[in-house]
């Protein structure tokens, strides 16, 4: 099997098209995903700058922006429906088309074969197809800004009837249809990619790479993939049903008696709650699909920069399994006040708080991994440290929201916005950066600039807290999310001023990412040359040249003799022992 695979994939395609565009090589596909994700991140980041402008200076006139975006402004002032399109698309793009692309599909593609000792993915053609379905999904999603009525404006959760009835909101026209098509295609793409990850990790591990020798990045990707494969198809079904409600006259999500624009709609028999269940059946596991790989990466970055084994490897693996399993059955905690049965609500509340147990284990093990180490503050290490603090604060916020009784007050408030930005905004973004700074030398054979990297980290870290910590407090003050402005309410007037510093922090946070983009592209050409193992790390990807050749190893695939965290082994001359060193040969 290994030999046949060897012969097949070692034949490297020569044409530009087959090498860089329709490539079957997992490393090229990975970079395609990462670069696509970065491109969408720029768009989605610009959207959020508009959102923050509006919240900092409601009703201010922006004539220049009106000439650029004539559909979104009227008399120089942003339209409320445009604001809602901005928040909808910002959320959708960031969750599915940035973090899923870059962190799961991007890093997954690059790292899985290299870290388990395979020459490529199990199904290279499916892998290519996955990316080339993701591209039209992205384009369809982005195109929705340019259709009549503008992009979808019913929130990234697309709750019907707002998303089902075209006259409910301008974005519920063609924009919403494109949103649904884009999402369905995204899921098709993810399913192909996920299946591939799953089979690859299951079948293509090299000799000696037993389950308990897998780096945690691979474990976390494995679980994220399982979650995605089990949870995502629910939304494909829901999207088709919603499309039928919109265009086929069906009533899956629409009850009788709906009254819009002075007209009674002919629907009957459906319920909007069905969509909420189906959406969150995808939506909640999706959180773990995104966050688990970031946690895995954090562990794998911690070990080489503390020069010691991580704490509690086995317990972390079990905890990841527990988080994955429980993560599948707690979607209802997004629906405590939705009208769902309060008995179900209490079940979901108890289940959600159960997740804090394995999550706290993971956090505790990460914390304990610092203890006694020889800590070195490289940029990836700084970001990994950042992950732990964000995971701590974000996780603690989760206790508030998971407790159904507290959620009566906090539901759909800025507390929620603050919380999920810490988790699927912060932990994942920092995971992405930790991974990029750490594996960049492997990707491109050059080092990223450390000074720029550290400046990038510090500004990002401080500005991130500046943006999202205060949102928790606004939520405690009762401030609802998805509000275009806060001047209508007396009880919000004293809180509304906080949006100014939040916005200023957000602009700084956005601008800091330009440092990263510059560093990323500038170092690609001019960075210092990277050796094959610049961090003196132990895992398999560092045993091949940087960047790895087609087929990943110039010689035979490596054989594994030990777990991935063999640092500062007593009696060894070096303070790291690669996984490929046989027992008894540590001294070499």
């Amino acid at each position: 099997m290994a030999e046949m695979q060897h012969a097949e994939v070692m034949h490297e395609p020569q044409s530009f098209l087959r090498r860089y565009v329709f490539s079957l090589d997992h490393k090229v596909i990975a970079l395609q995903y990462i670069l696509t994700g970065m491109g969408v991140a720029v768009v989605s980041g610009l959207l959020v700058m508009l959102i923050r402008m509006q919240l900092a200076w409601p009703d201010a006139k922006w004539p220049l922006l009106e000439s650029l975006l004539p559909g979104g402004f009227s008399g120089g002032v942003m339209k409320p429906e445009f604001y809602l399109a901005l928040i909808t698309m910002h959320g959708t793009l960031m969750v599915f088309f940035v973090i899923s692309f870059a962190l799961v599909s991007g890093f997954g593609n690059y790292l899985i074969p290299l870290l388990i000792g395979a020459r490529d993915m199990a199904f290279p053609f499916l892998n290519m197809m996955s990316y080339w379905v993701a591209v039209p999904a992205t384009l369809i999603m982005l195109a929705s800004f340019f259709v009549e009525g503008g992009a979808a404006a019913s929130g990234w959760t697309a709750y019907p009837p707002l998303s089902a009835v075209p006259q409910a909101i301008p974005g519920s026209g063609l924009g919403q249809t494109l949103w649904l098509l884009g999402m369905a295609l995204f899921i098709v793409s993810f399913t192909m990619g996920g299946l591939n990850f799953f089979v690859t990790i299951l079948n293509l591990r090299t000799t000696g790479m037993s389950w308990m020798r897998l780096p945690l990045t691979i474990w976390s990707l494995f679980l994220a993939t399982i979650l995605g494969l089990l949870a995502f198809p629910a939304l494909t079904a829901a999207a088709i049903m919603l499309l039928l409600d919109r265009h086929g006259g069906s009533s899956f999500f629409l009850p009788a008696g709906l009254f819009f624009g002075n007209k009674l709609l002919p629907h009957q028999g459906g319920t909007p709650l069905l969509w909420q269940h189906l959406f969150w059946f995808l939506g909640h596991p999706e959180v773990y699909v995104l966050i688990l790989p970031a946690l895995g990466i954090a562990f794998d970055v911690l070990a080489p920069f503390t020069r010691k084994p991580i704490f509690g490897y086995r317990l972390t693996v079990y905890s990841l399994w527990a988080i994955g399993f429980l993560g599948m059955i707690v979607w209802g905690h997004h629906m405590f006040v939705s009208g769902m049965s309060p008995f179900a609500g209490e079940f979901f509340s108890v289940g959600t708080l159960l997740i804090t147990i394995p999550s706290a284990m993971v956090g505790f093990n990460m914390l304990a991994s610092f203890w006694g180490g020889s800590i070195r503050f490289t940029t990836p290490m700084l970001f990994a440290t950042g992950i732990l603090t964000l995971f701590g604060l974000g996780g603690m916020g989760g206790l508030f929201l998971g407790t159904a009784t507290a959620d009566i007050f906090l539901h759909d408030s800025y507390f929620v916005v603050g919380h999920f930005h810490y988790m699927i905004g912060g932990v994942t973004l920092f995971g992405l950066f930790a991974g990029l700074y750490y594996w960049y030398p492997k990707f491109f054979g050059r080092m990223l600039n450390e000074t720029l990297g550290k400046i990038h980290f510090w500004i990002t870290f401080v500005a991130f807290y500046g943006v999202f910590f205060g949102m928790h407090l606004l939520g405690l003050g009762g401030m609802p999310r998805r509000y275009y402005a806060f001047y209508e309410y007396e009880f919000l007037k004293s809180l509304a001023g906080h949006h100014l510093y939040i916005s200023l922090s957000a602009f700084v946070l956005g601008a800091a990412q330009l440092i990263f983009l510059f560093n990323f592209f500038w170092s690609w050409r001019t960075g210092a040359k990277a050796a094959s193992n610049p961090w003196n790390a132990t895992t398999l990807e560092w045993t091949t040249p940087s960047p790895p050749p087609h087929g990943n190893w110039p010689g035979p695939v490596p054989v594994v003799y030990r777990w991935p965290y063999e640092y500062s082994l007593p009696g060894s001359a070096l303070d790291y022992t690669p996984q490929t060193v046989p027992e008894g040969r540590e001294a070499g």
Partner: protein, 272 residues
């Protein structure tokens, strides 16, 4: 990287890590919650304060420990502890396990469940004031049953500009009903029994001071009850995205003394 520079950098990170919980505690200790004006709200506030204190404490401990590790071990040339034995790991694992079980599930089941059960599962007392609230883009229709205590029949086909709920004029129960827009009157210290409905999209009925929040779902009638404990006028907000006017869907709740409430009810014009 030289060892000294690593040490100083580590200490800088440690100090920043220590600053985080200080800022969190100083900010979190301020009063953010709107003043309380309902009975069950005291239970919700209790859960929130319990979480703020316990979770805040954990956050402080965690950051102190992380900062201490960074301060002590950054830049040190040699690893001082290598690998905990599986036994040690399991022993240490008891800390997060027990803490979260007691703290998290304790909060949900001991403090939270009784409040949750009262808000949702307990049936309202007999002297409760019934009122039906129907959300629409972008207003709250408030519907009292009138002197007879019976809500008139509503039929969607009868909805028109001057009959926003589609009340059936032929139904005797409907004649003395009172329908208001964006104005809700309730007596103080008497339970209010709310039937929540929606005509179009989802809405969410939010009374910040009374700690009430419940989605209004088209096709469903959702019941809840609460007891306002302070007189005064309070705002009603919508907290489920319902369209471009979502941020303007403001109503006013007036909590009146019992006699004032009774006379106000008599003054309001009946439906027909």
């Amino acid at each position: 990287m030289s060892e000294t520079s690593g040490r100083w950098e580590g200490r800088l990170v440690a100090v920043v890590i220590w600053l985080i919980p200080m800022v969190v505690v100083v900010c979190g200790a301020q009063r953010w919650l709107p003043p309380l004006a309902s009975e069950h709200g005291a239970g919700i506030d209790q859960v929130l304060i319990y979480l703020l204190v316990t979770v805040g404490g954990l956050l402080v401990l965690g950051h102190l420990a992380l900062g201490y590790s960074l301060w002590r071990f950054s830049g040190q040339p040699r690893v001082t502890h290598r690998l905990a034995s599986p036994r040690q790991e399991r022993k240490w694992a008891l800390i997060p396990n027990l803490l979260m079980t007691i703290l998290g599930e304790g909060g949900v089941l001991v403090l939270g469940l009784p409040v949750w059960a009262k808000f949702y599962a307990a049936s309202p007392p007999d002297d409760a004031v019934p009122v039906e609230i129907t959300g629409e883009q972008f207003a709250w229709n408030v519907h009292y049953p009138g002197q007879d205590g019976v809500f008139g029949r509503t039929v969607a086909t009868l909805i028109s500009l001057n009959n926003a709920l589609g009340l059936d004029p032929d139904d005797p129960g409907a004649r003395d009903d009172v329908v208001l827009v964006n104005e809700l009157f309730l007596p103080v210290n008497r339970p209010a029994r709310v039937r929540l409905r929606s005509k179009d999209t989802l809405h969410s009925f939010f009374l910040p001071y009374q700690r009430v929040k419940q989605d209004a779902v088209p096709g469903m009638t959702i019941e809840l009850w609460f007891v306002p404990t302070e007189t005064g006028s309070y705002e009603i907000a919508c907290t489920e995205l319902c369209g471009f006017g979502h941020y303007q869907m403001r109503g006013l709740l007036q909590v009146l003394s019992e006699p004032e409430f009774e006379s106000r009810m008599r003054e309001l014009p009946p439906f027909r």
